[in-house]
């Protein structure tokens, strides 16, 4: 051990090691949280293996086979499958249309902070307050949109506009606008401000700066995240049918309520294929975009 001791003279003191209690405090907090949650959430893994649980699971699984592949049933599914995809696409478009402008407002480097606003807002307190106000409102609206789950939105819209795919589109549109807007604003805030400063110095207006300096830099990330959200929208729209918002979920709910598990397994398989397909498609698109970025 001695040989590893620093041979520096005693006067050359090492910089003081900064010790911190944070890791210890945080690990014990985490442990307490875990134990508390385990207790309160009534986690009882053994329940799965009790006689009654086993019997129910067996009945459920046995009922699934053979899957219902009768023409009558499959014929019934064509429209809902298409509807599910259409709900997801329209929902995502609505979400972009609402989320993008709100996302711009919720980007602090555009509304009131940083180099793009320093000169503009200097010495004009009311204007600075107004800008900050619109930023806060946009943030609040976005977070309201996304804290309410799309399922609950769908429930409300079914009451408002009746059964069918349209409430599903609205539900996804609103809930996803909240998520898209939030992430858009984060992407936009991390774009290199240099080119934007340069454009501002040529006398360009804010909107043209966004068009030439901000969006071209952020576009790959924006598109890639939007595609990812579309994937999630397919999953979500398949479920929204449970509350009567159209799509394959409606059929799934009927089959489940009728304990027709052979139909359920067919529907789950179709859902799986759909989601996997969209997965592959958007992954390809994303890779194409990101590769182009790295030319």
């Amino acid at each position: 051990m001695r040989s590893f001791a620093p041979s520096a003279p005693a006067s050359l003191a090492l910089p003081a090691r900064r010790s911190s209690y944070f890791p210890i405090v945080f690990s014990s907090l985490f442990l307490l949280t875990f134990l508390g949650s385990y207790k309160l959430a009534e986690v009882q893994p053994l329940l799965l293996f009790e006689a009654e649980g086993r019997r129910n699971i067996l009945k459920f699984v046995a009922g699934m086979f053979p899957p219902d592949l009768s023409w009558n049933f499959l014929n019934l599914l064509g429209r809902p499958v298409l509807e599910t995809i259409q709900i997801s696409i329209m929902g995502t478009i609505v979400a972009v249309a609402i989320g993008f402008p709100l996302g711009l407002l919720a980007t602090s480097s555009l509304t009131f902070k940083g180099i793009l606003n320093e000169r503009e807002l200097a010495g004009s307190r009311p204007r600075a307050m107004l800008r900050k106000g619109s930023y806060l409102v946009a943030r609040a609206v976005l977070s309201l949109f996304r804290t309410i789950p799309e399922f609950v939105w769908a429930f409300m819209f079914v009451r408002a506009v009746g059964l069918g795919p349209f409430p599903g589109v609205l539900a996804i549109g609103i809930a996803y606008a909240g998520m898209l807007g939030k992430v858009y604003s984060e992407i936009l805030e991390h774009v290199n401000p240099g080119p934007q400063e340069a454009l501002q110095a040529t006398g360009a207006s804010k909107l043209t700066i966004i068009l030439y300096g901000l969006l071209p830099q952020a576009l790959p990330n924006l598109v890639s995240y939007t595609l990812y959200r579309w994937e999630c929208a397919v999953r979500a729209s398949a479920i929204l049918g449970f509350v009567g918002a159209g799509g394959i979920g409606q059929q799934l709910e009927i089959s489940m309520r009728m304990f027709d598990f052979s139909q359920v397994i067919t529907l789950v398989a179709i859902l799986f294929v759909m989601v996997a397909g969209v997965d592959v498609l958007s992954a390809r698109a994303r890779r194409a975009i990101l590769d182009r970025q790295r030319v």
Partner: protein, 271 residues
């Protein structure tokens, strides 16, 4: 063109980056600013191109008090001032032509700007500007595929398209190969002479400043250390200008005798 009266700039809680500065620049003048890193050169430039406002003092541009301007009137004054940056500040993913034409954004409406992204307007103007900086063949290349020196030329072409009355060049050659540095400095001087523009350049390199500019200003700790015709700048002036940074970093003071034959771009590396 510019008249600065006791201009100071403080960033919150820190010492003044620019401190009580008086400066007069005449129309058509060419001057270089030199000084150690952290002397406040870039801060001064950002005030001169109306990116940031001074904390105190009066800044007149062409006799106009710009401190109260905002919105459209601020943009109109900004259009008259062109800036070339050390880091080019181009959008890497856009083709060269859009980066060049973005110098025209001050004069375009949003609708015109949007249309130009799809079908470029004023292609001849962009081509003309690129020809003047010597790389017309790069018109439709993606900007990020160009070398550092070429990108700086694109940035200069953007300023030409903007057609301002003043060109501010903030260390335009610091990120360029030293061999190309003199060429780019020369290019900026020639272009501003040909188009009768005022040119203010921030330089890291003392020898480039002394060799190419009639008027040289030494900036140190946010204050003017000397403001002289290039021929009158002596070793003593330079020693005084770089004295503090020598104490801080242990660098040697550059002397004229050392610098002139070396022709290096960055006699005072910052790190």
């Amino acid at each position: 063109m510019y008249q600065l009266d006791r201009v100071s700039k403080q960033f919150d809680g820190r010492i003044a980056a620019v401190d009580d500065l008086d400066l007069k620049v005449r129309r058509g003048e060419k001057l270089a600013l030199i000084g150690p890193s952290g002397a406040g050169k870039t801060t001064l430039f950002r005030m001169l191109n109306l990116t940031i406002p001074p904390t105190s003092g009066v800044l007149l541009f062409d006799g106009l008090d710009v401190s109260r301007l905002s919105g459209r009137r601020l943009r109109e004054v900004r259009r008259r001032i062109g800036t070339v940056y050390q880091q080019h500040n181009l959008v890497p993913r856009l083709p060269v032509i859009h980066n060049v034409l973005s110098g025209r954004l001050g004069g375009w409406s949003l609708w015109q700007a949007l249309r130009s992204l799809i079908r470029p307007k004023e292609v001849e103007l962009a081509y003309e500007a690129l020809s003047q900086v010597g790389i017309p063949e790069k018109l439709y290349d993606r900007t990020e595929t160009l070398s550092g020196g070429q990108q700086q030329r694109v940035a200069i072409a953007r300023t030409l398209v903007q057609n301002p009355e003043v060109i501010l060049a903030d260390e335009p050659v610091s990120s360029v190969d030293p061999a190309l540095a003199a060429g780019i400095v020369r290019l900026l001087i020639d272009l501003s002479e040909a188009h009768r523009k005022t040119l203010i350049m921030n330089l890291h390199s003392v020898d480039l400043a002394l060799a190419h500019f009639p008027r040289v200003i030494g900036l140190k700790d946010g204050k003017i250390s000397f403001d002289l015709p290039a021929a009158e700048v002596t070793d003593e002036h330079l020693a005084a200008l770089y004295a503090a940074s020598q104490a801080e970093t242990g660098e040697e003071v550059p002397s004229l005798a050392e610098l002139r034959p070396v022709r290096s771009c960055q006699p005072r590396p910052t790190s």
